[in-house]
């Protein structure tokens, strides 16, 4: 499994989106998110975007007030994951129009839906923005 989880966390360390590709209990999740937030949010812009954590790596990137954190296996390509994060942000941007934290809070379901289009079983399966968004737009239209 390449990607183990995707988190979006705001500056205050509150989780805004959490998608796991392996089963964790609530307690495990709480502990994990706490540790990661503590580790990553303390870092500054001049430091690299990769953090080793337990037996895997976290690749993260900050966009405005929101941190995108992706937990990946050690042999995953870190730069590709950064590109993936950027793709995710661009996709959301295209859909919400200048996406912000509130968009994700109020449209969590849609964000999950986008992720489901992009990632399956921890593998990145779709990297074209229009392919990712077309089912969502269709659903929006019909509902």
């Amino acid at each position: 499994m390449g990607i183990r989880f995707i988190l979006m966390v705001n500056k205050q360390g509150q989780t805004r989106l959490a998608q796991y590709y392996e089963w964790l209990t609530l307690e495990e999740r709480r502990a994990l998110e706490g540790e990661i937030v503590r580790k990553c949010l303390a870092r500054n812009d001049q430091q690299c975007s990769f953090v080793e954590h337990r037996n895997y790596k976290i690749v993260y990137r900050r966009y405005a007030s929101l941190f995108f954190l992706v937990g990946v296996d050690n042999d995953e390509n870190e730069l590709a994951i950064l590109e993936f994060i950027h793709l995710l942000v661009e996709t959301m941007d295209r859909h919400f129009g200048n996406v912000c934290e509130l968009d994700i809070m109020f449209h969590l379901e849609k964000a999950h839906f986008m992720l489901e289009e992009m990632v399956m079983n921890g593998c990145i399966v779709e990297t074209s923005k229009s392919n990712i968004l077309s089912p969502i737009q269709l659903m929006d239209k019909t509902s």
């Binding site: 499994m1 390449g2 509150q14 989780t15 805004r16 989106l17 959490a18 590709y21 089963w23 609530l26 999740r29 709480r30 870092r43 500054n44 001049q46 430091q47 690299c48 975007s49 990769f50 953090v51 080793e52 042999d75 390509n77 870190e78 730069l79 590709a80 950064l82 590109e83 809070m105 109020f106 969590l108 379901e109 999950h112 489901e116 399956m120 079983n121 921890g122 593998c123 990145i124 399966v125 779709e126 990297t127 074209s128 392919n131 089912p135 269709l138 659903m139 019909t142 509902s143």
Partner: protein, 966 residues
Amino acid sequence: MASPSLMDTLFQRSLDDIIKGLRHQQTTESTFISKVIEEIRRETKSTDLQTKSTALQKLTYLNSIHFVDMSWASFHAIECISSPTFSHKKIGYLAISQSFNESTPVILLISNQLRKDLKSGNEFEVSLALDCLSRIGTVDLCRDLSSEVFTLMSSSKVFVRKKAIGVVLRLFDKYPDAVRVCFKRLVESLESGDSQTVSVVVGVFCELASKDPRSYLPLAPEFYRILVDSRNNWLLIKALKIFAKLAPLEPRLAKRVVEPICDHMRKTGAKSLVFECIRTVVTSFTEYESAVKLAAAKIHEFLMEDDPNLKYLGLHALSIMAPKHLWGVLENKDVVIQSLSDEDPNIKLESLRLVMAMVSESNVVEICRVLVNYALKSDPEFCNEIIGSILSTCCRNVYEVIIDFDWYVSLLGEMSRIPHCQKGEEIENQLIDIGMRVKDVRPELVRVGRNLLIDPALLGNPFLHRILSAAAWVCGEYVEFSRNPVDLMEGLLQPRTSLLPSSIRTVYMQSAFKVLIFCMRSYFVQMEDMTSEVPDLASKMECSESSDLATGKAPAQSDQDEGFNPRNSNQSYEDPSVVGAGDGQTSASAFLEEKGFTHESTVNLLNLMELAMGPLSGSYDVEIQERARNVLGFIELVKRDISNPSLRKEANLEREEVIASRIVEWVHDAFSEELGPVSMTAQNRVLIPDGLVLKENLTDLEAICGSVELPSSTSFSLRSPYYGESAGVSISNLQGEEDSDPSTESTSLLTEHRKRHGLYYLPSEKNEILANYYPPANDLSSGINANDDSQDLVKLTDQSLASKRKPSHAKPRPVVVRLDEGDAAADLAKKPEVKDDLLSGAIRDILLSNEAKPTSSQSNPSEKSSSKRKGKDKLNVDLPDSKENLAVGEQPNPENPSSRKSKHRGHGKEKNKKSRGKKNGDGREDDGEKEKQKSRDHHGRHKTRQRADAPLNVVSQTPVVPDYLL
């Protein structure tokens, strides 16, 4: 707030309301949430699906963001997915994906609904079901739904098809038999022109290959085509990952692939792809010099960039490269060393690893010195990283890189004093380990230990307690090397030892006891020295030495010339009391004069000990109490004789005096037994006697082992004087026998070492002088700044580059006792076992056994096998087209009816290549080849038949895998 119990439906709060509510109630979030959950619980009971699904939606949100338990609502989620309305379904599926797991009791209830949705005409419903299956698929679900997924894999809608392919990964993982159904279609999708599908399939194969690469070797041509033709970086990265796994298995493949990889590395502008190429090359193509050079150049580019990400990755790639191509690290050492003071701790850590990779015999001293200076100035975390990596590098492979152990031991002492040091346990282990392994270093070890022990400030730092314990043990065990045992004694008994945990305190007490025994014995020896006239010193010395050599015994003391060794003398003389004085007096007396054991000082020591032990005899800790009482008992026995000076003067040869001296002698005997390192595999070498039944379950051992503590000193028991008197001689004799007994492994090993490397056993006097001669490796007070440090380090590594070894070392490396395989066994780790799990077995079945009749209980084996063969043939036929530079003209005729089996083809190619190598001339050679080929075919078929019989018992074999790329 309106009462939620009324008209739930009408006044139900939506998710948005909850989110808004949460945003405005930061302070009382938890009460707000619990109120909302109460509402949700009520709402889920509603019969109206709209209400229910909204409630579920809210719960899912809270679960995802606020860690609210939602396992209780699993049945409601199932109700939602069975709703005909898409929006309800969507909410239900999201809830299920998020909250269901293997142990959810109702999970099997969704099987039917999933099947229904998988067959639905609405592609979004299908996709919901597929996504859900990929997240929560259990063995049962995967088994039940594999045929539906199989159908969807060839759906006409790309949207559905790619998701179905994505699900296959989960399917294979949980239910490996699904391979029989789906694998062929998966391979076919590789060839489909549709880019979306291909990228999913390659992703799936990338994951599969990372678990068991060997099974996918036959698909190498497909991946090769992607590697060469694709322009999609995502896809290329996956393909590279696959080849990184496949190449080490098949050298011919590696040879073939390395060029395209280098091409990508040169041409592409995408850093992610470049990095993947670098990583692939440095992990799996390390033999290809030019490729590694190119990778190193690219790494250098990364390191030169300002971007911390690239810098980190560059360092990371270097550390992958280091074990096989250290030159890559050395070329970039400037950057590496500069990065030690980078502001990013992760980069610092990577560069630290690299610096440690550069350590060699010749530069270890200097590098460690500079690193320790770094550590002093670093934050606690990095400081401990540095200390930890110094420790682990230096002890690697039984202290391989250490030449000068005196230096290393004093470095250990210094590191213990670094304020942030938290590596007590590791330092403790090494101090004791070195003490046991390296005889020559013991004087220095005792010196270092003493310095630690006498510093009362150190006792206040709990992280140092383990180190102090080791220091105490070392000083007790090797007290004969101490210059001032009284000093040691005071250190061991100082009041602040009450700060130590009881387990370590016991070590202190035992060590103090050892020191006491040593001092008293020295005193007695001195006494008898003065009183008894021993006629021929020289001959005695010789005698004891020659007996030493002749028997080849190597007790610790005898070679140290101080020679307080009762055992030797016991052999020469029957009477132990005479003996005590007998051996090695010259040095002993000189030694004692220096140390000045007068009667007063000995009595003082006894008093000091008694004073310190007194309160401890009432300790609540049984270990402490027991030891204190033992010591006190001993003191009582001895003191009577010794404390009365008049008695002593009048009758120092009388019975009482002799008794005290004898008791001391016996206890000393007990302590002077050498403790050697024990091989880790020592137990294995003990043959199990016949009739001994070893328990399978050792749980009741817990009760016994629970109380065992750290390597505390040799256990002893103070016997009653009556017993001792009668048994004294036999005890010493016994020990003599034990020593000569070859079956005591460590002793005999030590003896052997001594025999073989006798010249390395320097006399201790000389040793000490040398030890003094060494300047301290690290001056704590020297305030060199970081820049100086890094420059130093640059210079150092320069040196290490320029001169591989320092021309000569000040002194030869002392012998390090090393227990043959015993120590190596630790490094060996577990051999990577080829895990032939169900999945790889099934896949190999399919990929390799085209002509074997499938014996599996599948519905339509004949159809399957034939189509499989078709797929296989296609694979093969494709190949020559894409590789023109294959043995052109010598290609096996594709229409040749005899080559209907892929294996023929593979071998045929091999044959052609070979015969081309022989300039195609020799017909007989060809015949021979054909013969071989036939037999090989036969072999292959035989194997496949075997496999068909027992599909899970797959032999790991390369020769059967045809080499498609050549």
